[in-house]
């Protein structure tokens, strides 16, 4: 009797604990318009949870979004993200010209740009910052974003030019290509097509300097700088070997990349290929301005609060890692009059319930994206401070196409047909079902192709065609006895939401194909390693969010192979993407990109699942902070509104 009583008490206790934990967001918030307290801070300070601890305050050195948001407060680049649609708006460049094939960009800097120590900013600062960001010595993981700049990729890879010692002439790339691509760089005069007008009289810089002429000579041949790799390459190509014999190899230097200061306030960037989206890319952290003098004086330690010099609307006040980064308004900033907040406090936190608790008691004013836990959604989603908008990010499954049975496109398609993505989106509540590889409703004017819809009959038929007939049992369920289940598994990195997704997919396949795919969770780095090296069979979880606002940021995952972690690399796809990017007309380019995307979807190296939602909360008194699809905020516009009648009730509109 006693024992039983104790048991019952124990059970009761554990139920009570669970109930309390589940209710934790509901108790006092049930009938309130907002989630938790809504008392604005006394001073004009924004307290923001930005996610993981920032790796560094050196902008090109970090790849993450938490850092990107901090860099947007303290550093500026040529352009900045628009608060609503993330399109490039003037920052340190007040306007820019694009040549008529979008392969050369000329930026006109404002004359009143200043560092936080008062020093003026000029075009040479940008030349330095770009060369540093792309240098092999810095080894930035973001350097690949600079590959559009002429010779930048070769510089980052420590490649060499090939020069004839007798004539001083360099070998040219086009002489060694089977199918020479037309030289993209237009040498036609720049078409003055600027959206923004100059604020000061500018002296006319020499538009056709010696360096500029060099950029417009046919592209030089580059070979690997590493002797072993070079010998291997030359041995494979006798024509190249013959041409290279007796020549000298000249390492590609920082001075060779296509970035030039025409004069103090004009910067010209020459690209290897037409890239209409390039100006949008320049707001990325890898292209933000860093202070040469301070870096040369303090080396690695230049980002310490006592040394750091910045150029954004805010400057570093104090930094206590894993605790708080405080930035304050920088009076030296060229647009200081626009900056409304006195300080921003960035809190590095990654535990979602802890973040939401802090938000609820009113100790923070806004939090990063993907923060509302699934179990809390029912309560929080109905509050007027919940941010409900799509994100430029997708969830998908990758398939290792190199191993049977998944090397058969019919099998891959069958697994795709067997997933009801609409039902998944309903269950997950905030995401949108996705059949293509680019997120839906993000890139305006992009004719996004449609992938295959849910069709379990077609799925079973395809499996049968591939040699794995699905039989219907008496009870109406399916089984596929001949399918080698031991050869297929689903790997994901340990996280509650990933687990839920994996189990959901598993159930779909079990229900519609009669195949039980085993699930395996892995620690994050182990998972990345297995996926990158294709050391998995079957499926792996994938997610990608845009680096810049162009479909190519998604389609490029399959552009250089291996990167996608699927083993799928198709020369025809590469040719299609290349052709699209050479298009001068943006609409034509989009059409061709969409064709390439469709081609990739037909090969099914991935199974698209959903377009993500931003899923965060901000207090109603935080204004001019929009749930844009990239989760990035130009902080200088953000302010604290004390007049309750002007507060945001519901998600602020992204329409301009």
């Amino acid at each position: 009797m006693r024992v039983r009583n104790w048991k019952r008490l124990g059970a009761l206790l554990s139920v009570a604990t669970l109930a309390i934990a589940n209710l934790s967001c509901g108790i006092s918030a049930k009938n309130e318009v907002f989630f938790g307290k809504t008392i604005p801070p006394e001073r004009n300070i924004l307290r923001y949870v930005t996610g993981d601890e920032p790796e560094t305050l050196d902008p090109p050195m970090s790849t993450g979004q938490p850092e990107a948001r901090i860099y947007m407060a303290i550093y500026e680049g040529l352009v900045e993200y628009h608060p609503k649609n993330l399109r490039p708006i003037p920052a340190l460049a007040e306007r820019w010209d694009i040549n008529n094939d979008s392969s050369e960009f000329t930026f006109h800097l404002r004359h009143n740009g200043r560092w936080s120590n008062g020093d003026p900013i000029d075009a040479n600062d940008f030349v330095y910052s770009f060369r540093r960001a792309l240098s092999p010595e810095l080894a930035s993981r973001n350097a690949y974003l600079g590959a559009y700049i002429k010779y930048a990729e070769a510089y980052t890879a420590r490649a060499v030019f090939v020069r004839d010692p007798a004539t001083g002439q360099f070998l040219l790339a086009r002489d060694f290509q089977d199918d020479p691509v037309p030289e993209p760089l237009s040498s036609k005069p720049l078409a003055a097509s600027s959206e923004y007008r100059a604020t000061a009289e500018e002296p006319n810089a020499d538009p056709d300097s010696a360096f500029h002429q060099l950029m417009h000579t046919p592209t030089r041949l580059t070979l690997p700088g590493d002797q072993k790799a070079r010998t291997k390459l030359l041995d494979k190509n006798p024509k190249l070997k013959a041409a290279a014999t007796g020549k000298e190899f000249v390492t590609v230097k920082a001075e060779d990349i296509g970035v030039e200061a025409l004069d103090k306030y004009v910067l010209r960037i020459s690209l290897v290929q037409p890239a209409p989206f390039f100006s949008g890319l320049l707001a990325h952290q890898v292209f933000r301005l860093v202070p040469r003098k301070v870096i040369e004086q303090y080396g690695d330690r230049w980002t310490e609060p006592e040394h750091i010099v910045t150029c954004g609307p805010f400057k570093v006040k104090t930094w206590r890692p894993y605790d708080k980064l405080v930035v304050e308004r920088d009076p030296m900033y060229w647009d200081a009059a626009t900056v409304k907040l006195d300080e921003i406090h960035f809190y590095p936190m990654s535990d979602n319930p802890a973040i939401m608790n802090l938000y609820k008691v009113g100790e923070v004013d806004a939090v990063l994206n993907h923060t509302v836990p699934n179990a809390w959604l029912d309560v929080v989603r109905n509050k007027k401070d919940y941010m409900d908008a799509v994100e430029a990010a997708i969830d998908y499954l990758q398939i290792n196409v190199t191993k049977p049975p998944m090397n058969d496109v019919r099998v891959r398609k069958a697994f795709n047909f067997a997933i009801d993505k609409n039902a998944w989106a309903q269950w997950r509540r905030i995401v949108k079902p996705l059949t293509a590889f680019t997120p839906e409703g993000i890139f305006q004017g992009y004719p996004q192709p449609k992938g295959d819809q849910f069709d379990p009959d077609r799925a079973r038929q395809l499996l049968a065609e591939a040699g794995f007939p699905v039989v219907k049992r008496a009870d109406g369920s399916y089984s596929c006895p001949s399918f080698p289940v031991s050869e297929v598994e689903y790997i994901y990195n340990t996280q509650e939401s990933n687990k839920a997704m994996a189990e959901w997919m598993q159930a779909q396949w079990k229900q519609n194909l009669g195949i039980t795919v085993s699930l395996r969770n892995m620690e994050w780095r182990t998972f990345l390693n297995a996926r990158a090296k294709l050391e998995y069979k079957g499926f792996s979880r994938g997610a990608w969010s845009a680096d810049y606002m162009d479909p190519f940021t998604f389609l490029s995952l399959f552009y250089t192979g291996g990167e996608s972690g699927t083993g799928w690399l198709d020369p025809k796809y590469l040719a299609m993407v290349d052709e699209a990017n050479r298009m001068l007309d943006p609409q034509q380019r989009y059409a061709l990109l969409a064709k390439a995307e469709k081609y990739m979807l037909d090969a099914q190296p991935v199974i698209p699942i959903d377009t993500s939602a931003v899923n965060w909360v901000k207090k109603p008194y935080v204004k001019e902070m929009y749930p844009n699809p990239g989760g990035l905020f130009p902080w200088k516009y953000v302010y604290i509104e004390r007049d309750q009648s002007k507060w945001d009730f519901g998600t602020p509109s992204l329409a301009e």
């Binding site: 993981r141 690949y144 890879a157 890692p321 990158a532 997610a543």
Partner: protein, 307 residues
């Protein structure tokens, strides 16, 4: 005594070196690396990173360099993940956070635990005994990742009395919940150990002698019984103090405290080799020192122990 201490300290050095070497091997065996991300890096960029940190050098050179820097300069190097932050700085910065929470929790656990345990032993089988031991049982069986959120729910989210998380300096109201959460289990253990130790001692001959001498009950308990009864507590709290000082992963995570434990778990997940080695070495040293302190404390508390 002095010879004993010196001998023990000398043994510490090779122990630490072995610990560091094993850690180094384990890190090298772990799959993945610190620079990998959702998108695989182009090979040229990966090579730049490997060159920059000397990851493609032969293993004995990498091992040799690590050990040399540690032995020669007491320098654990620079964190791979947190560019430009030296491991020594990170430890020096996060230790005070862990230690202030840890020491407060330790003191609280000792005071409450010993008091509750002594009362329970002195009034064995009374209401006091049962209720304090029931509480102790609860303290041991409710893990801190359950206790922490419940305390937050009650005192922060419902009553709005205390901040739910984050570091607020020392001293501050932010410390109250983490200290309570952290000390609960230690408090419970100490109470049980004290009770058991006291019960044993109270029945021993020398207590009977003390009573026979006519000493007051207070003197018997404080001067004689407690001294003997606390022996098991001492051997438990030495290592416990080491763990409390060097931070506890769970509590630091629940309350978002910038302590050593938080760094340790992050460093392992990030494959941040220098930081892992630095923190492991630091924890090992602390642990060994605490054990030494326990042995010294024995000598003072128990007249039979002599070194």
């Amino acid at each position: 005594m002095l010879r004993f201490i010196i001998r023990r300290l000398l043994v510490t050095i090779p122990t630490i070196l072995v610990v560091i070497s094993i850690t180094w091997v384990l890190i090298k065996l772990a799959p993945g690396n610190f620079y990998s991300g959702e998108k695989k890096l182009p090979p040229a960029i990966e090579k730049n990173i490997r060159d920059k940190y000397g990851l493609d050098k032969p293993w004995y050179q990498q091992y040799g360099r690590t050990m040399w820097n540690i032995l020669r300069h007491a320098d654990f190097g620079t964190s791979l993940k947190y560019e430009g932050q030296s491991v020594n700085t990170i430890i020096a910065r996060s230790l005070p956070v862990s230690a202030s929470v840890g020491i407060l929790a330790y003191i609280l656990a000792l005071i409450v635990g010993i008091a509750a345990g002594s009362i329970a032993a002195l009034k064995q089988n009374s209401r006091w005994d049962y209720s304090s031991m029931a509480l102790a049982m609860l303290g041991i069986s409710v893990p801190n990742f359950v206790l922490g959120p419940i305390l937050v729910l009650v005192f922060s989210l419902t009553l709005y009395w205390l901040p739910p998380s984050r570091w607020g300096g020392f001293p501050s109201r932010n410390l109250i919940l983490p200290v309570l959460t952290l000390s609960a289990v230690y408090m419970a253990y100490i109470a049980r150990l004290t009770r058991a130790g006291m019960l044993e001692v109270l029945r021993s001959d020398y207590i009977r002698t003390a009573r026979a001498k006519g000493l007051s009950e207070r003197d018997v308990v404080v001067r004689h019984a407690l001294r003997g009864g606390l022996m098991p507590v001492i051997s438990y709290t030495g290592p416990a103090l080491a763990f409390l000082l060097t931070g506890t992963v769970v509590v630091e995570r629940i309350f978002a405290l910038p302590g050593l434990g938080n760094y340790f778990i992050q460093a392992s997940l990030n494959r941040d080799e220098p930081l892992i080695i630095g923190i492991v070495a630091f924890i090992a040293i602390t642990l060994l020192l605490m054990n030494l302190l326990v042995d010294i404390a024995y000598a003072f508390l128990d007249p039979r122990v002599r070194y």
